[in-house]
């Protein structure tokens, strides 16, 4: 720590930090544009000028850009210096010389960093009287809107899109005062992280197109802290609602998880909540078809079904909350509860739980992932299964070169100098997957092969690290030397990380990945082991129960069950159609609680409208093992309520198993008491009774408009806000206006800081953790005892003469159950196809695009062939997309040319 003087008062700052960050950390307001806490300093905008005096005797001082000025002991800084202030005002005046006066019609208005900074500098009158420059805007796809005239050329967009996220199709073009940020031609932005441009851009150049389609100002949005449900990462989000409609999702900073960024699936998947496919009322299937029934009627019928004395089976879901799954388990009894995994998923999930609970390797937070200095990915197409983890890995890949650059005396935050010195060099990041993935370009070397070969490659690495592990024979010298190289790189690292997961569908890959991490631990390394699981509560569901649906099917076939209750699970995605139909048919009554109309809902006798994440509160456990609570954002007009509450109501109505669950916290506490893994779960966030100065935390902003007019078409009286028994939040503007504990931050705002940049004001220091620590509670810590190595090494892959190994190919858009109901994302989904190696085209006598007949698991379907780079001959990739038949993968199948090409 060093002491510096700011406005002649002494402050402690971190040595070598930049002056801007140091001043912001101490609560000073300095306007800035190009600096970003995750992307650091560029020195381009010149907005953060301050005056620095060498020492006590220096009276003149000099103007410096605080973002590129390292703090030094004894430095005297003045932010209020008249010359510095005048210069900052000049900079805004320059920026505003071409900026349009279109704030009233700009989506950014009210949360615009440029507005805030303009106010901060005091610039009010524009002397520039000449014609403003104008640009042509581009079509960038259904997610991000482009309005270049507003651009202030801070270069943040390209620094994020290319530098941070590895995108290629957005760049800075032209020069002087004609610099243009866009694509070489109109077209959908290719990066899975494109939505972050909306928050990275300090003004309204890049805005959220989904918000635009049902626009509301930030101050009019009702918000609550939430957690993304579209994959297993558990990114923290802030959904915003107005008039009963979810308007957008923005990032909720959590330094240990997503930091400042979200993926496009997570940011734009929310539209499923507004989907016409939503189940909004209880549905009853009768001989005459499906009809809406009242909540009371539905409950009466449902409780009748479960209360008749017949046995009840309950099927939960890896995308349902801990509380919902636990409520199902309570309803049916532990022995009759299934978490809703397919047989194959269940085996993978229980293996991952075993690896996490019994092994010595720690599952790191994403913050720790970002600081890893050697990474090995095994079998996982990370960008498509856990996109924000992929973004974190991209940062980890830069750590090696960063270290080298810092040896030249370049501070890590001096982004342009770091880029010069590192020249885009890659650190030790190795990726192994069945085909070339979007992560490959960040890797220094890649390995492509079918899952067993990935497992064998990993086994060879593990053996390099630990000679007591089995020898892997039959490797080419190339593979063997790559294995040696990887082992060496992992050993040389301080914080090596192994990433694997369910993505390749292979237990052998998971076991081999664990062996590598454990072998590193045995060598005294603090190795991390990240196991990607695909759904928002996959790990939570696996920790409750990991029997597969096959076992449920078998039990149902015994014929003892009368009623089946399913919550938030389309079993047709997890069982083959015929099995699912037979399974459902073996019950007299099927009750389904869900958000959207899917095949399972269609088969239900009674469907209960389950509240989505935005309409309910609950706990999810991400694949790190971090329990995170999301809070209800708004009260929907329909009959939706949380699945667990439907279950409680049913149990209450039967009178048989009266639950003393008055609020969600009671369910959480019960789960914690009953399931050992959940022991600490109640501490993930403050309970519903939490108050600050006796007040609840308002979901609505203090600037919300139309409070008394909103419902004036129905009644002139202002209605009482809905009571919320489950959370410390109110559905109103009233309540505590200051900063709540970190898990309860409903939105980021500070006086003078209306944009997302206000996050800084909620952090312990600029760019650091939220005050009081980042939200979430880790449930699983590694055992210190020795490593329970897996001993088996799979035999190597042999391409078959007639058979093809079909491997799963998860897709960012299309492979997740709920986000496919978001129309903008659905429009970006690929059409079903079968991926083959280009080298196999001849064998199949096809060209790209020709239809191929695929036969597997006794099913047959035709799909167009797409060449997938990196695929091994004899292996075909099956994308997990809507419209594709459910297959348990990997599996052997047969591919043939469907029909002769037209001549």
């Amino acid at each position: 720590m060093a002491k510096i003087l700011i406005e002649n008062r002494e402050y402690e700052v971190e040595d070598g930090q930049n002056l801007l960050q140091a001043c912001l950390s101490h609560g000073f307001n300095i306007p800035y544009f190009c600096w970003h806490p995750a992307m650091h300093s560029a020195g381009a905008c010149r907005q953060c000028a301050v005056k620095v005096f060498k020492d006590e005797n220096d009276t003149r001082g000099r103007i410096v850009m605080s973002c590129v000025m390292p703090v030094a002991k004894g430095m005297r800084v003045s932010i209020d210096d008249p010359e510095a202030k005048a210069f900052r005002e000049n900079v805004i005046e320059w920026l505003m010389s071409n900026h349009p006066h279109d704030c009233p019609v700009c989506d950014e208005g009210g949360e615009c960093h440029l507005q805030d900074m303009t106010q901060m500098t005091g610039h009010v009158y524009r002397r520039f009287r000449f014609k403003k420059r104008t640009y042509k805007n581009q079509y960038l796809g259904p997610l991000v809107n482009h309005e270049m005239n507003r651009c202030i050329q801070c270069y943040r967009c390209v620094r994020f899109y290319r530098g941070y996220a590895g995108g290629r199709d957005l760049d800075a073009f032209a020069s002087r005062n004609r610099v243009y940020f866009g694509r070489s031609e109109d077209g959908v932005l290719e990066s899975p992280f494109s939505g972050n441009l909306v928050e990275v851009c300090p003004t309204g150049v890049f805005t959220d197109k989904t918000l635009k389609s049902h626009f509301a100002r930030k101050w009019d949005l009702q918000t609550a802290p939430s957690v993304c449900v579209h994959c297993g990462v558990g990114c923290n989000i802030i959904p915003g609602e107005r008039y009963g409609e979810l308007r957008r999702v923005s990032n909720r900073y959590n330094g240990e998880v997503n930091g400042y960024f979200l993926c496009d699936r997570g940011r734009f998947g929310y539209e499923f909540v507004n989907s016409p496919q939503r189940v909004k009322e209880a549905l009853l299937k009768t001989a005459d078809g499906v009809q809406e029934v009242s909540k009371e009627e539905a409950l009466r019928l449902a409780s009748h079904m479960i209360g008749m004395g017949g046995k009840v089976m309950a099927v939960g879901s890896p995308r349902a909350t801990v509380e919902t799954n636990f409520a199902l388990r309570t309803l049916a009894g532990a022995e009759n509860f299934y978490s809703g995994f397919s047989r194959h998923e269940a085996r993978l999930a229980s293996l991952i739980v075993e690896v996490m609970e019994k092994g010595p390797a720690r599952s790191p937070s994403l913050k720790e992932v970002r600081s890893a200095d050697a990474v090995l990915v095994l079998g996982e197409d990370v960008t498509n299964t856990a996109p924000i983890l992929a973004l974190a890995l991209r940062q980890a890949a830069k750590n090696g070169p960063l270290k080298t650059a810092m040896k030249l005396g370049i501070p890590f935050w001096d982004d342009m100098a770091i880029k010069t010195a590192t020249q885009g060099k890659k650190g030790p990041f190795y990726a192994a997957a069945p085909y070339a993935t979007d992560d490959d370009d960040a890797a220094v070397k890649t390995f492509h092969g079918p899952p067993v070969e990935i497992a064998r490659f990993a086994a060879a690495i593990a053996r390099e690290l630990n000679p007591s592990l089995p020898i892997v024979d039959g490797h080419s010298e190339e593979t063997a030397s790559l294995a040696r190289e990887v082992a060496q790189a992992l050993l040389e690292a301080e914080r090596p990380l192994v990433v694997s997961g369910t993505g390749s569908g292979s237990e052998a890959v998971i076991q081999a990945a664990a062996n590598v991490a454990w072998a590193l631990c045995a060598r005294g390394k603090k190795a991390g082991l990240t196991m990607v699981m695909p759904e928002c509560d996959s790990l939570g569901a696996a920790l409750i129960d990991s029997k597969g649906l096959d076992e449920a099917f078998a039990a149902a076939a015994e014929g003892e069950f009368d009623t089946l209750v399913i919550a938030e699970n389309d079993i047709f995605r997890r069982m083959e159609t015929e099995d699912a139909e037979n399974f459902l048919a073996s019950f007299s009554h099927v009750i389904v609680i869900d958000h959207v109309i899917n095949d399972t809902v269609k088969a239900a006798h009674i469907t209960l409208p389950g509240a989505s994440f935005a309409e309910s509160t609950g706990t999810l456990i991400n694949f790190e093992g971090r329990a995170q609570k999301f809070f209800q954002v708004f009260v929907s007009a329909g009959a939706q309520q949380a699945s667990w509450r439907w279950l409680k109501d049913m149990m209450d109505s039967t009178g048989l198993k009266l639950q003393k669950w008055e609020s969600l916290d009671d369910v959480t506490s019960d789960a914690a008491a009953v399931i050992p893994a959940f022991e600490k779960i109640t501490r993930a966030a403050p309970k519903h009774g939490f108050r600050i100065a006796g007040q609840k935390i308002p979901r609505q902003t203090h600037r919300r408009s139309g409070r008394t007019a909103v419902e004036a078409d129905k009644t002139v009286y202002e209605s009482k806000p809905t009571e919320d028994e489950d959370t410390p939040f109110s559905f109103s503007m009233e309540g505590f206006q200051g900063q709540p504990p970190s898990p309860l931050i409903a939105r980021f705002w500070a006086p003078g800081w209306n944009s997302v940049q206000s996050v800084t004001k909620y952090q312990e220091y600029a760019g650091g953790p939220l005050r009081g620590g980042d939200p979430g509670l880790r449930l699983i810590e590694p055992k210190v005892a020795g490593a329970p190595f897996f001993k088996a090494v799979p035999i190597s892959f042999k391409a078959r003469k007639y058979g093809w190994l079909l491997v799963p190919m998860p897709r960012l858009f299309g492979s997740e159950e709920l986000s496919v109901f978001s129309p903008p994302l659905a429009s970006l989904q690929a059409k079903p196809f079968i991926g083959i190696a280009e080298e196999d085209a001849e064998r199949l006598e096809v060209e790209e695009g020709d239809e191929i007949a695929v036969r597997a698991n006794g099913k047959s379907f035709g799909l167009p062939a797409i060449f997938v780079p990196g695929l091994t001959r004899g292996v075909a990739a099956v994308p997990l997309l809507p419209g594709m038949a459910m297959l348990t993968l990997p599996a052997w199948g047969v591919l043939t040319r469907a029909k002769r090409r037209a001549a």
């Binding site: 210069f87 009287r129 800075a172």
Partner: protein, 427 residues
């Protein structure tokens, strides 16, 4: 040869302005300095050049030997030497003469300089418009390669070097040494942050020295004749001769190699022959467009880095633009600022947004559309587009003529505003 002792850089040049061939250059003693240098220790060459007081001829005037001494000598891996031949400073054409007239002098200077910093790869970064220089340089490089003066194990010294010619895409900012590096790497020609300096982290992140063509052309002569001889060529503290130039409405515009420290008056009156008949000198810009105006009262100022600085301007490239009394000074400034606004790279706000504003305001004044407050706007830019406030020196350079022009030609500005137009156009 007598001439070489007075005008080492230009004495050999052919009267017909054709390039000296390798044979001609060698006959006159060319590549002897290289042979000598390769027997010395690199640090010894650095010392001699430093002692010679050769200062960077691109305009900044930094001691060349000193600049080299910041290159880490213990670093393994590639180091680079780059000849900055991106001569785009308005009014400057001295490097062109050296490139076209005696390409081998530059090549020899580059090999010696590369050896001095143990750089094994070198580039000539050439201005796009210098097509003739490009042709002649390519030919000279082939000649040198064919003779083994470039390539592996030069003169059996164990030292290897190749020089590649890179023709710029043509932007003024590429002459800024760090923007040049970005351009050479195929990136946007935007200057880089300093520190780290190129000597530590330059081309492709490796230690790199960028020297001006004239600077490098001096090196063989310093090595051949010693630092004392070189200092003796000068009439001031800075070593050597300098290629001075004059453009504008003088009788004999051109270039002359003269002792460093020759006075402005001598260059303008004796060598350039003074102003054309009927014209008087209003002012001059001493070293390219981005220096402050001087006037007749500065005739006795010596053209060297320190003396011109003391007189309130910069020697810059040492090629003056003389402005006569019939030319509108506001128009001159507009012309200059239009150039700078157009050549801004667009990276930092003050330069990108400020220079077009300056240009538009000057145009408005020149064309009779002035508004109250316009001079204040210009003055604000003069203060705010200044060193440390902008990312690189382009905008401060652009402000040097403006700042001095606002003082020097105040009455001209006021007449423009009062008379709603350019008084010089009326004639």
């Amino acid at each position: 040869m007598e001439g070489l002792n007075e005008k080492p850089l230009t004495a050999l040049m052919r009267p017909d302005k054709a390039a000296l061939s390798l044979a001609e250059y060698e006959r006159a003693g060319g590549y002897q300095a290289l042979r000598k240098a390769l027997k010395l220790a690199p640090v010894e060459i650095q010392r001699v050049v430093k002692e010679s007081n050769l200062r960077g001829r691109g305009g900044a005037g930094f001691n060349t030997g000193m600049k080299w001494s910041f290159v880490p000598m213990d670093s393994d891996g590639t180091k680079y030497l780059i000849a900055n031949a991106d001569e785009m400073e308005p009014g400057t054409f001295k490097d062109r003469m050296l490139l076209e007239g005696n390409p081998h002098q530059l090549i020899e200077g580059m090999i010696i300089s590369a050896f001095a910093i143990v750089a094994t790869e070198a580039y000539i970064f050439l201005r796009w418009e210098y097509a003739l220089a490009s042709e002649r340089m390519s030919k000279a490089l082939s000649e040198a390669r064919a003779k083994g003066y470039l390539g592996r194990d030069i003169f059996s010294s164990g030292f290897s070097l190749d020089i590649k010619l890179h023709v710029s895409a043509g932007r003024y900012i590429c002459g800024e040494e760090t923007a040049l590096l970005n351009a050479l790497e195929g990136r946007r020609a935007v200057p880089r942050a300093k520190p780290p300096f190129p000597q530590v982290s330059g081309l492709w992140g490796r230690p790199t020295v960028v020297n001006n063509v004239e600077t490098l052309s001096n090196v063989p002569h310093i090595i051949a004749n010693g630092d004392e001889w070189y200092r003796g060529l000068s009439r001031s503290k800075d070593g050597g001769t300098k290629i001075y130039g004059v453009s504008g409405k003088v009788k004999r515009p051109g270039l002359w190699e003269l002792p460093m420290g020759t006075t402005i008056g001598e260059i303008l009156e004796e060598h350039a022959g003074g102003m054309r008949e009927g014209l008087k000198l209003r002012c001059l810009i001493p070293g390219g467009a981005s220096t402050e105006f001087l006037t007749e009262e500065h005739y006795s100022v010596k053209m060297d880095f320190d003396s011109v600085m003391e007189a309130g301007s910069r020697m810059g490239t040492g090629t003056m633009i003389a402005v006569d009394d019939k030319t509108c000074p506001v128009g001159v400034l507009r012309n200059l600022e239009q150039f700078f606004a157009q050549e801004s790279c667009g990276w930092c706000t003050p330069c990108r947004e400020g220079l077009p504003w300056v240009e538009k305001t000057l145009s408005a004044i020149e064309e009779g559309r002035a508004k109250p407050g316009d001079l204040e706007v210009l003055e604000m830019h003069g203060t705010s587009l200044w060193i440390g406030r902008t990312y690189c020196a382009l905008a401060p350079g652009a402000m040097e003529p403006l700042r001095s022009g606002l003082k020097l030609f105040r009455s001209d500005f006021e007449r423009h505003i009062k008379e709603k137009g350019c008084p010089y156009k009326a004639h």
